[in-house]
């Protein structure tokens, strides 16, 4: 018991390679009790590999995995005290719903009376009290999803792992299930490690997000932190839309940094304690913080460009503007009415507040 017990899951320097391919490069992560943490990233980023290592379905090359204070790196899955929801649910097709949920209890040699009680209890928790005698294939996708979840929570494992569990559902049902899983999480106080490639889903459900890219962890933090204070251009770009601009630091003054040569303009950006402001820097402005300035309007920071496109998306309208250095940035505005006829090629000015821009720490990969 050398591990601090307050973590349900601790991952230390876990590495996994397939020949020359590094699937997972020295990942480290802590998961507190009752926490909902999402592994987010594009396909091939290593998020599923990390989940499988925790599940014991992939053996890492090195590193440690601690589950509930117990070293579990190379323990077989069935000795790990985990639950897992698979993308295709992996409900046993030849067993009834009741038998599916009873399965983990039988494996633990739970008395028959307790099994009956517990199965009934979790079926009520997932609000499907009457489907016990049905077969998985007689249920809808959303119902199967809930049964898969019930099968996990019935034996109260230390952590529940979910591998893109909503990937097979259509948009509407997915939205509904996101909230439902979230409610179950709060209601039951379960600890969840969740995998998705959908950034919106991650933002909605997670206490914290672990954003991964090319086998490494880019940033771990709350959705707020990742959205407003991204550590890298990749994070800035992956979560929501972002405009990445760059220039040369001309001076620093307390809270603000002056950056020149940004598409021909000089702008002021809020300083960040964790970012060294010198030489070439990159910063990010979210499209919703960029304002298309009407003639005569002014803003703390202004760049000039040429309007390329105006697109009505629904609730918002997007403006695409080519800047002097050829970079195309976007600005969104709430749709107020039919867009005024706009001329592609018309000169426009874009403005944003000083705190609308976020300095990025890395020189980073160019985006």
């Amino acid at each position: 018991m050398s591990e601090e017990p307050r973590y349900k899951l601790t991952i230390r320097a876990v590495r996994k390679t397939y020949g020359p391919v590094v699937a997972l490069a020295d990942a480290a992560l802590d998961l507190g009790e009752g926490e909902f943490l999402t592994l987010l990233g594009p396909s091939g980023s290593g998020k599923t590999t990390l989940l499988m290592v925790v599940a014991g379905l992939i053996q890492p090359d090195r590193g440690e995995v601690w589950i509930d204070g117990r070293l579990a790196t190379y323990l077989p899955s069935f000795k790990r005290d985990i639950g897992m929801v698979f993308q295709n649910y992996a409900l046993f097709p030849h067993l009834t719903v009741h038998e599916n949920i009873a399965f983990p209890l039988r494996m633990r040699r739970t008395p028959e009376a307790t099994i009956a009680r517990e199965v009934k209890r979790v079926l009520e928790v997932v609000r499907l009290p009457d489907v016990g005698e049905r077969l998985p294939r007689q249920l809808s996708g959303g119902q199967q999803q809930r049964i898969a979840l019930a099968r996990c929570i019935v034996y109260r494992p230390s952590i529940i792992l979910m591998d893109e569990p909503l990937g097979a559902l259509d948009k509407k049902l997915r939205d509904q299930m996101q909230l439902e899983i979230k409610h179950l999480h709060t209601q039951l106080g379960i600890t969840v490690l969740y995998v998705t490639h959908d950034q919106e889903e991650a933002m909605i459900m997670s206490d914290r997000i672990c954003l991964m890219n090319e086998g490494r962890i880019e940033q771990v933090g709350t959705p707020d932190e990742l959205y407003f204070r991204p550590h890298t251009a990749f994070v800035a770009d992956f979560l929501g839309e972002s405009n990445i601009l760059e220039g040369t630091v001309a001076g620093a003054d307390g809270d603000t940094v002056t950056v020149s040569g940004v598409a021909g303009a000089t702008v002021r950006v809020q300083a960040r304690a964790d970012v060294k402001a010198a030489g070439r820097v990159r910063f990010m402005v979210r499209p919703e913080r960029m304002v298309v300035l009407a003639p005569g309007d002014d803003a703390p920071n202004v760049v000039e460009g040429v309007l390329r496109d105006v697109i009505l998306v629904g609730g918002v309208t997007k403006y695409y503007v080519a800047l002097a250095d050829g970079r195309v940035v976007s600005a969104t505005r709430l749709t107020a009415g039919p867009a005024s006829p706009t001329v592609a090629g018309a000169p426009v000015r874009l403005g944003w507040a000083v705190d609308g821009a976020v300095l990025l720490p890395d020189g980073g990969a160019p985006t």
Partner: protein, 606 residues
């Protein structure tokens, strides 16, 4: 369905819409062909057994069948041998099928080849190789004597042991391939899910994987059993008097007595036994298992439905739970000896054990045929192990014999003709069956596949009777027609499998680009499925090339085929010449399989 949508979208095609039943026209040649060359003769043979010479209904043939206990006894022996063969095929085949279905792509391809090799190698060649291995002067006795385990050679053939070894060896590949087709469709996530839910390997296997693989086991058992009841090569060459099987009696009746009616009666007895097995199978396991869906287990492990099935299900459920429990206690014992360590990687020992068993079984299947090769170079005039000296004499005899060379050429020609005819008839049918929704499709498919299920001997006798009246006995045409009946199911199944992976939108794209149906077929569809078509042709060719049952009756005198020539010679004496011919055949078939496999893999990749 998508085809119908596309048709509606293209006005040129929609205008000349066929009546619904005519839309299935490509199916008709196959149905018509099988009706004339398969259904009609079989029905007539069975009818013949029910009437007397004047054409009035009579039970005389059946009265004779049951008057003495001889035939009933032969039937019982047949059923007994078939049942044992089926049991050994399933027990031995299951681990191999499991490995094939669960291992990596690369290993699966290698392993598949070693299962396919015995599958397609001539039954005759394989039976000869067992004579080389198990005979009094065979390799096994040689080894036993050398090790000093016994003083005298053991009797391994011309008895039940020999027949069972030979038949298990002959039919296990069929059993394996049938089981694999079901196991491949079992979601690998289920075993992982069971493990995360707390199930050890044993429980996960017995409670989850095994029940889901049962349809494959059942289908495989059925196919092996039915095929086994129709066997005559192995019992005739490896068995003694007490292992006479019913097909041998049929051959005797036809070839020596020319008693069609009585042969028909025995055939019907065989057919009824086969159908009875079907029926009992359906009662115990349900036909749904043939269609590939898993048996259903409810709370108490019982299956729904009739009381017999429920009792069976309950016993099955209890057995499964028990097996899971036993294998887990075993695993725990191993764990006490070698505790699992959380801080160090380790391999599952059970997987290693499984591979050992699996590879031993594959060796049992693949290796015997190789023993025939050295024997073909012996300088002695009889077969013994180890072969002495080195001579090409036996190959010389083969090449200089007009009889052997003509038989070989004729087999090749008949094989090619059968392949061509079967492709011509079966490919259009496969297109309809794979792509269209036509009424009675299941029935049509069942009919087209039925030559696989009906014991081959019945088809052969029926064809002989038909040919005798229309003058086709002894002709190559008769052989080609008969072999085509047997090849059609293989071609249909292979082409349907290829079409399943073919994206029909490619055809629709071609239509939308202005190509008519024929040009689309020529320039888009056929080039894309060519590899699959070639594989189908090769399967049809091998089916004919290796065929003995029909050839046994339909060929006569000089106009014989290679398997028939080998059979006639083998009944007389197993000579080194046979070993030489077998070697040539073995090398040839191996080449064909590698070729077919090459094309199949290209088809999969395309």
């Amino acid at each position: 369905m998508t085809g119908a949508v596309a048709e509606a979208a293209l006005p040129g095609l929609a205008r000349r819409r066929f009546p619904a039943w005519l839309a299935a026209w490509p199916l008709f040649p196959a149905l018509l062909f099988l009706a004339v060359v398969f259904l009609y003769p079989v029905a007539q043979l069975l009818w013949l057994s029910l009437v007397d010479k004047q054409g009035a209904l009579t039970g005389i043939h059946y009265a004779r069948l049951f008057r003495s206990t001889v035939y009933v006894q032969v039937l019982l022996i047949t059923l007994k041998i078939s049942a044992w063969t089926t049991l050994f095929c399933i027990l031995g085949g299951y681990p191999v099928a499991y490995l094939l279905a669960t291992t990596t792509e690369r290993r699966r391809n290698a392993l598949t080849l070693w299962v396919l090799l015995p599958f397609w190698t001539s039954f005759l060649v394989r039976t000869f190789s067992w004579i080389v291995l198990l005979g009094r002067r065979g390799a096994v006795n040689n080894l036993i004597l050398a090790l000093g385990l016994t003083d005298a050679p053991a009797d391994l053939i011309f008895n039940l042991t020999g027949v069972l070894i030979g038949m298990t060896h002959a039919l296990m590949p069929l059993g394996i391939l049938t089981m694999v087709s079901v196991m491949e469709n079992i979601d690998p996530n289920l075993a992982k899910a069971a493990s995360t839910l707390g199930a050890r390997g044993g429980q996960a296997f017995w409670r989850i994987y095994f029940p889901l693989s049962m349809p494959g086991v059942a289908a495989s058992g059925l196919l092996v059993f039915i095929t086994a009841t129709g066997f005559f090569i192995t019992p005739a060459l490896l068995g003694g008097r007490k292992e006479t099987m019913i097909t041998q009696v049929i051959i005797e009746q036809v070839q020596e007595m020319l008693n069609w009616a009585f042969a028909g009666a025995i055939s019907l007895l065989l057919l009824v036994s086969a159908l009875l097995v079907f029926y009992l199978y359906d009662r115990a396991l349900g036909m749904s298992t043939l269609a590939g869906s898993a048996p259903v287990v409810d709370r108490r492990g019982g299956r729904r439905g009739n009381p017999i099935a429920r009792l069976g299900g309950f016993l099955g459920g209890s057995a499964i739970a028990g097996l899971g429990w036993v294998s887990d206690r075993l695993a725990e014992l191993v764990e006490v000896a070698i505790p699992p360590r959380a801080h160090r990687p380790h391999r599952a020992w059970s997987r290693g054990a499984l591979w050992t068993v699996g590879l031993l079984i594959v060796a049992f299947l693949a290796l015997p045929a190789f023993f025939i090769v050295p024997v073909s170079f012996t300088t002695e005039a009889f077969i013994e192990w180890p072969p002495r000296g080195f001579t090409l004499k036996w190959y010389g005899i083969y090449l200089e014999s007009r009889q052997w060379v003509w038989a070989t050429l004729r087999s090749l020609a008949v094989g090619v003709a059968t392949g061509a005819l079967a492709m011509l008839i079966a490919t259009p049918a496969a297109f309809v069956l794979a792509r269209r929704e036509v009424r009675g499709k299941t029935g049509a498919l069942a009919f087209i596949l039925s030559p696989l299920i009906i014991p081959r001997m019945i088809i052969a006798v029926a064809l002989f009777y038909l040919y005798a009246r229309v003058g086709l006995v002894g002709t190559s045409l008769g052989l080609v027609l008969g072999h085509t009946v047997l090849a059609i199911p293989y071609v249909v199944v292979t082409v349907m499998a290829v079409l399943k992976t073919y994206d029909e939108r490619l055809d629709q794209a071609a239509w939308s680009l202005g190509a008519n149906r024929l040009r689309t077929l020529r320039h888009v569809t056929v080039p894309l499925i060519r590899a699959g078509l070639v594989a189908a042709f090769l399967f049809a060719f091998i089916t004919s090339f290796d065929e003995l049952t029909i050839a046994l009756f339909v060929t006569s005198g000089l106009a014989t085929t290679l398997p028939k020539q080998m059979w006639d010679e083998a009944l007389f004496k197993i000579t080194p010449t046979l070993a030489a011919v077998s070697t040539i055949l073995f090398v040839f078939i191996t080449g064909m399989i590698l070729l077919a496999e090459y094309f199949r893999r290209r088809a999969v990749r395309a």
